[in-house]
């Protein structure tokens, strides 16, 4: 018990000696070793690891996604007017960033909390672990989060399927509205010189949308096995 207290006192001292930058920001970017984190940093790490667990926070993130998307579109449109290649580069870059963000959110849903990891890996509560073990638990959590090595169990898989189905249900009417608007702009917009070229793009977009909306049915037609017949003992 005395050893534990001495250890805690030492960690507090170490923590106080560190610079403001390290205590507030630096430690997030340093590969974590057991000795590098003090109690203050551990508290932050654990608080941060619980960020996505509350529904109100997740709703906030979901709402934040809309302005981020609007900003991305605005930036891309501005850049593409200056130079088409720069527009392509900026759009690709922003889309990759957004994709990584969405990926990290998806990983976060299936990721096991630090507290549960401690129980699963060491059979003890997180607070009861030694500093080295805490470091290892955190390191593994960060590594699994970065590489997406999370366990997609049946509940997680079902949630993903439900979310995809809901997204697809929204996609149908949204695509129809978009294409109607696109055709409206092509046919009635003030673009006399480029109207025929725009109409060609409208045709392509319309067929692409039809392909996307028909894809689930086509996939089912391809993959659904034959209906089994009645067994001979029952069939007349």
């Amino acid at each position: 018990m005395n050893n534990v207290n001495t250890n805690e006192v030492n960690m507090n001292d170490v923590n106080r000696e560190r610079s403001w930058f390290w205590r507030k920001i630096g430690f997030w970017f340093v590969p974590v070793r057991a000795e590098t984190l003090g109690p203050e940093e551990w508290a932050k790490v654990r608080k941060m690891s619980r960020t996505g667990k509350r529904r109100t926070r997740r709703l906030l993130f979901a709402l934040l996604w809309v302005p981020v998307l609007v900003c991305e579109i605005a930036v891309s449109l501005r850049v593409v007017r200056l130079d088409p290649w720069a527009g392509l580069m900026s759009t690709a870059w922003l889309t990759v960033l957004l994709g990584l963000w969405v990926r990290s959110l998806r990983i976060g849903f299936a990721q096991v909390s630090l507290e549960d990891r401690a129980v699963m890996e060491y059979g003890a509560q997180f607070d009861a672990l030694k500093e080295k073990q805490r470091g290892e638990v955190f390191q593994r959590a960060v590594r699994d989060g970065l590489f997406g090595r999370v366990k997609v169990d049946e509940h997680e898989a079902e949630r993903r399927l439900q979310a995809q189905a809901a997204a697809y249900r929204l996609l149908g009417p949204a695509l129809v509205a978009f294409i109607t608007g696109y055709w409206g702009v092509c046919l009635f917009g003030p673009f006399e010189a480029t109207r025929s070229a725009l109409a060609v793009t409208a045709v392509v977009v319309t067929w692409l949308a039809a392909l996307v909306l028909a894809a689930p049915t086509m996939i089912r037609m391809w993959t659904q096995p034959d209906e089994p017949g009645e067994t001979a003992a029952v069939a007349e």
């Binding site: 299936a110 096991v112 549960d116 129980v119 699963m120 059979g123 366990k151 169990d153 049946e154 509940h155």
Partner: protein
């Protein structure tokens, strides 16, 4: 149809954490939480694994109808025996 279960009671009885149960039946700890809260209906495979873990028949852990409390059941059993 929602499925009722006794996982929380059985876990408390055996002093078993969500993480430990989850690790032995091969799911994430949050899935056990969702099961206990009635937010998720498990697959047959998972239901059998959980029942097997507690050494009980599946109908003792999961039921389509709400369970009577264990104390009520024990009381009735004692009354019948007496």
């Amino acid at each position: 149809m929602s499925l009722h279960n006794r996982i929380a009671v059985l876990r408390a009885e055996k002093k078993l954490s969500r993480a430990t149960l989850a690790s032995s039946v091969g799911v994430n700890p949050q899935t056990i939480g969702f099961l206990e809260r009635g937010d998720y209906t498990p697959s047959l495979e998972l239901a059998f694994k959980i029942a097997e873990h507690f050494g009980l028949p599946v109908e003792a852990v999961f039921s389509p109808r709400p369970f009577r409390t264990l104390s009520e059941q024990v009381y009735k059993l004692h009354k019948r025996e007496a």
